[in-house]
Symmetry: C2
Amino acid sequence: MSVKLSLLALLAEAPRYGYELKAEFERRTGEVWPLNVGQVYTTLDRLTRDGLVEPTGDDGGGHLYYCITDAGRAAATQWWSAPVEPAAPPRDELAIKLALAVTMHGVDVTTVLAVQRAATLRTMQALTASKRATSELSERLVVESLLYAAEAQVRWLDHCEQVLSVTPIGDRP
Amino acid sequence: MSVKLSLLALLAEAPRYGYELKAEFERRTGEVWPLNVGQVYTTLDRLTRDGLVEPTGDDGGGHLYYCITDAGRAAATQWWSAPVEPAAPPRDELAIKLALAVTMHGVDVTTVLAVQRAATLRTMQALTASKRATSELSERLVVESLLYAAEAQVRWLDHCEQVLSVTPIGDRP
DNA sequence: CACCGCATGTAACGTGTTACATGATTCA
DNA sequence: TGAATCATGTAACACGTTACATGCGGTG
């Protein structure tokens, strides 16, 4: 729901048109998650379908502005007041992958861990570099959120390795 | 792709039928991500469509076994050898939400941060409790991965608060 | 018998995402 | 003039997810 709710939140601030929404989104979140323009329009259609926004007539030079409705404003307010994902975290591919690797024959868990740690460390380096290139405060916070997550991932990988070295294959429940 | 690849990996180990796949998946990853049985069958259809698995005839008592193909085995091997997500991390709703909150008028970022921290701390407590209830090693690792991630999220929220207290509204670029 | 768990499946929907087509405007 | 950018939109698809229908077998 990230895209949908983001666009809704931006429209709660002011009426905007499609291209503007894409630009605003990327200006605020940085270049980590580029937003395909097409998706903005499909999402706007769906928001309209759900009665959360309304297209207002063509204002001036060929720009089709969208306006938030009362229901939309309520949904946005609700989004701001409630925390993200109290329960039901999205499936984590890496966690699943390792849970399977650990319980599977013919898969070298140690290698999987090593490859992943190397990749994540590379990601952290890239993030650190792109952090220096940020201009907006919000953009920097986004990059740092990814850094914190990557760092935690590395720690977890280390933890896995340590646990597995203590409980080698054969001793496992 | 988590579900698709997981089922493929399980079928790389041995031919299995739908219900068995659901059971195996949940036995190994725990109760965090329950897998709707229906999804197993739709996923099996899509894997068949893509030529990665094949239904073998009804073996014995009403069980429809699926078997991995050569292409499927190659895909599974590829999955094991490559790291997850080198670039292109999935959109993080919380990070996006805060990036918008910081740049938006009429949104009380401090409250958003506080609500989120409380929710995440509650999640951590629940995870810690469910960690004690794990029997399988792999299951425990999954729960711990969520714990590490939640812990990092709290640290990031603290970081955001600290950054925002230094750069109050009005001084922002 | 009725109920429950096992087992297979289907239809429908939701979001995310891309590829493509189409024009207008700007600028070298 | 031609290329690039702005701007709108559509068609198609992928995956995830749920709700529902169906049948079989055991058990109270």
